[in-house]
Symmetry: D2
Subunit: 390 residues, 4 copies
């Protein structure tokens, strides 16, 4: 049986759940290849060693360049903060490794374009880890929209509410433009933009407002020092889509009492779909085809055999959680690699998302409507063809 040997950079938070995905994917899914958890990479060796042991990695390394050089690694998983994505991805591509990279793909569109160039140039396979495309209910929404069940798409609505109000929260890379690209937009808004791409299509133009409400946070070191926050706490923007739909987006870190709760809704000429991230196992669906007396939004438990991943991940509509999404994501990645194709959610999607994020930041800064520069992505794509085999 073919092996896919993995090296993962960044063992905290998101690296932990990526690890969970690799370890547990075959509990739920059949794969034509076996993932091998070769090496976990990070900087704090003590903590890293413990993590590698706990998560089930064969070894650990404090040098990401070293794991890229390793012959026994086929796939590099980038779970670092955004400011490392570009360099690691380019090196990995150069070394001929397949790559999965956490979202947002980069700090800016130019960075993302470089990464895209690299994977095309070196013919490696690539995925952006937009894990919410892995929600069964989101997939069902996609199926319903694509099969015309809500008719022509009229409107998109999306908000992501988060709560980082606590002034005692330290100024991590989250709050520094140099490290993260921007604030709420890159961090959480990126998911919403990607889901809009998935469910509605390309964005024609955006008009945005953004703001910093908590201008200073405590530095991580030296502890106690105050340092300036230079990224937005919240951004709200409106959009026109290429297909004629209109839409609104919001990403906020100052929504007291809401903890990474997002909601997306697509209104069409014949119905509506709505999804809330705190009710992962359900999709709300409205259709004007129901007879009037019984008409009303259906609350669908996504867990029938007709539903995406239905029988596998949430048989009988059992509640799934955020961790489960990383198992599905691992499946999507490894299944594509095992079959020799590129994952559906590639660096292209990461770059397209970044094109919109850059347009949003530009719009907020220049106080006017702004258009995403998708064309630069399509040029690279046209030049590069799809991932070439190795």
């Amino acid at each position: 049986v073919k092996e896919i040997r993995i090296g993962l950079v960044g063992y905290r938070g998101i690296g932990k759940v990526h690890s969970l995905g690799y370890r547990s994917v075959r509990t739920f899914f059949h794969l034509d290849a076996v993932p091998v958890m070769k090496v976990l990479c990070g900087r704090d060796e003590e903590a890293l060693k413990k993590a590698a042991l706990g998560y089930g990695w064969e070894s650990h390394s404090v040098d990401w360049r070293e794991i890229i050089r390793r012959k026994d690694v086929d796939l590099i998983d980038i779970c670092t903060p955004p400011f490392n994505h570009n360099e690691i991805a380019k090196e990995a591509a150069k070394a001929g490794k397949d790559i999965i990279c956490e979202k947002p793909l980069a700090r800016s569109l130019p960075e993302a374009l470089e990464m895209l160039e690299a994977v095309y140039e070196h013919g490696v396979r690539h995925m952006t880890a937009f894990n919410y495309r892995c929600v069964p209910a989101v997939r069902l929404a996609k199926e319903l929209i694509d099969s015309g069940e809500i008719g022509e798409v009229f409107q998109w609505r999306a908000h992501w509410l988060s709560d980082l109000l606590d002034p005692a929260l330290p100024l991590s890379w989250f709050y520094q433009k140099e490290k993260s690209g921007s604030g709420a937009l890159q961090d959480i808004g990126s998911h919403l933009v990607d889901l809009a791409h998935y469910l509605v299509g390309p964005v024609e133009e955006v008009s945005a407002v953004s703001q910093i409400f908590i201008p200073e946070r405590l530095a991580e070191k030296p502890a106690g020092d105050k340092k300036k926050v230079d990224v937005e706490d919240a951004v709200q923007f409106i959009a026109r889509f290429s297909n004629g739909a209109m839409g609104s987006f919001e990403a906020s870190r100052v929504a007291g009492g809401y903890r990474d709760e997002f909601e997306i809704q697509v209104n069409g000429s014949k119905g509506t779909v709505r999804f809330n991230s705190k009710v992962l196992h359900k999709l709300e669906f409205y259709t004007t085809e129901d007879e009037k007396k019984r008409r009303g939004p259906h609350s669908i438990f996504v867990g029938n055999e007709q539903h995406p991943y239905g029988e596998t991940m949430c048989p009988y509509g059992e509640v799934i959680g955020r961790n489960d999404l990383f198992i599905i994501q691992a499946y999507e990645l490894l299944n594509a690699l095992a079959k020799g194709v590129n994952p559906a959610t590639s660096f292209l999607e990461g770059a397209r998302c970044q094109a919109v994020l850059d347009a949003v930041l530009g719009s907020a800064r220049r106080h006017e409507w702004s258009k995403p520069e998708y064309a630069r992505i399509e040029q690279i794509k046209a030049r590069g063809g799809t991932a070439r085999g190795r």
Copy 2:
């Protein structure tokens, strides 16, 4: 006991529930004056006569000018579509009648300014019927915000989802710019703008997108004919407020499955309030003052003796409905008139709302940020002083 003698123009839909308000207000509230339902006015005499009898009016008339001339009428209630507001209000003011006018106050800011001029010039009292300011939970939200319970206001979020997808709906004045000023914005967006004024404050500038999705509707007569819709089905806009807050608004008539459901949310530095129009008896309130272990949004039944109208309208948290809001509105109006003061929600609020609506329409048309012209309102106010006694 003093009497307040009322003439109401427009007996359908909204005129019906205004009538309910006058008839039932004293069942719940003490007033220092007695409302007398003198005359109901409309065009279709047959239907009007029946309505007058059913609603409890002493008489009826098919000529609104006639009821304004009547000596035995003190207060004119304008429940017609927007295109009549201006003319009726100006005539009523000239005749020295106090006025309550349905929202939106006018089809445009210039019209609203004329109406404002008129009531100031003739020294009559005036109210705009923004009935959602009468929701006990909304009043509680105002109290909590004003007393600093959510800290500094950071963000406003509001959407009103409605469903007029059915292509068989006839092209009423709802869908004609000449009659209504605009579409979803004037009709339902106006409520959201007013609530933003109430809970957050003046809007500095807006950027908007709007669209017509259903371009033709069936004419009312000749029946069967198709006629062009020239007002927006949906509008989404973002805003900066004068106090530094940011916000988003949406008014949609193409949200399949949602029936006049709106939600408003104010995020502050110390907490959040959220209100949904389909749960009129509750306010969601979050405060960072709760100890962490128990912290989470409170779902407050508004019906304690500490709550606005609590013991009167929803003792013990009983469910109130839309009809009840018109009873509270009648109280607010008649109580002010009985006490010889102007209602708190005057034509000023109607005009301020219209200033924002005009800015939104201008922004959508010109594709750029746009500022409400509040200054023109304040000039009239400054010139006119408050309502002069008669």
Copy 3:
């Protein structure tokens, strides 16, 4: 036009909203008769006078026997606490007056039987004011069940949660067996039993547990004295229905944070209906007829033209409130009287409910299953025939 002249006994709380019903019914409904609010009756003359004026009654009286004697009164509305129902109803029947009586009809089945005998003997019309039968969503549930949409009825589930935890609440008639018959059961459980009769059918037998948790309350006078509570704070019981269904009921006054919130659910072989009293405008409906991919509970806005009272009371699914139910109830009563028939929810329903309540109390006391004595009601009915015309 025919007049129906009304005398109402008991002007507080429930008497207020019955008054609202008479006053506003013709705002919404066409009637072939005109209700005339003749006289309001109570004991505290000062407060009564004010109430009569506010509610719109022509006169007031402190003697209920006097209003029963009045020639110009056709209908007696009994809104007193339960301990007066029996005497007033029997006198009213003897005087040939039609009667509407608040629920619970009496303190016990024997009392209810006397009342039933009286209305049959004197041939007057009669109604028990189970106002929750007037909820449009409940009517829709009834229609769906009757037309077989949920198949064979398997299970009933009902709970009513209320919060009288506050130890400072005075010991009103609510807490005294002599005045109210029992506690949570008579007060709120009676509604659930009536709705079970309406939606499922007769109860074969019950097994109950009940308890007093707050054994003493402050007497109303002399203030400050503690007095024993002798009625249950909560009761929970299970039941077998005559049609083979099974069910459970709960009525609790010690459910902290819940304010008169009840929920009922009927599970059938092909689907489910569920209703929550805090969401009066909606019915949840599940059917196995939906194709599997879209299957899930529908959340129906009750306000289409196909829905009971849809266009009248909640056009377009507008939120209705508790007050509105009394308008519908007034319509059901007056429409029946105008048409010369007995209201559908007659004293029979009141007595049937009481039969179950007595069985529940007996079961809790004797610690065994107990059967409602419906037979005694049917004997009276058989003997008496329907209400004879006058």
Copy 4:
């Protein structure tokens, strides 16, 4: 480092998620011992082999007696249907293996007692897999109740709604008394009884009603044959607890549209806790200590550092899913074994639950109140002492 070598019997459904637990526990938790997934046991070798590979087991075996004999297995995990529990557990105990057994522990109290005797006699450690005790929100409820935050416990309310209406579902062991002990009661009611034990305490007596609604199902083989169902589709019962509280329980497989959704609520003299199994990350908590103006149920995201497992499993209130509960369960089991103590949720809890289940079945059969025979359990416990070291 110490190893805990595991053999698991029963690889379908529940065995899969137990496997997930062992495999992923150290991703989230620190343990002083390393679980080693030695051998997976089942009957269909082809499928078993695939499962063993996918789940990460070192080997597989079609003979459960063989894995019990193995020297390199320390812990037996019983994931078979109930009719095998007794025999396997007794053999495993005799062989000196620690045991975790799926719920319900047995088909009847006598069977459970034998198992309890066995683990005491042979001094092995033992756990019943009541996985809902592992929900962070349920643990928080326990903490709040124990620390007096809701005062004296008055009422328990619990229902579990499931939907096996589809007549095409085959007659598995689920529907056969001989294999499962009973129907909805053993299957899902057992969880509710255990949670009542956890949060309220021992049950004094119960009165129950149960019913078979779908009397025949299709046999698994020969396919197409109809076979009689001899276990209840639904059971509802009321209870008195030893501490004076009262309560109700429901377990239904005929609740169309509900998929393993349960809700539990504890009402106390000072507040309430409520939990819904489809919202695993939240606890609803009401306290009369909040000031009246802000009072209302709190919706607590369980994911603060003060919350049980808060930072580990649901940092920041992230949604957890059913799979995550098995990771927590694996931790509770392995952590106890590593520390040399018995897991908190031992066979005692399994037996106590079974005592109540037997009482419920007896009550339904004999149509009278019935008392759980806890005493027989306590005798064994008294005789046996705690698990003796090996």
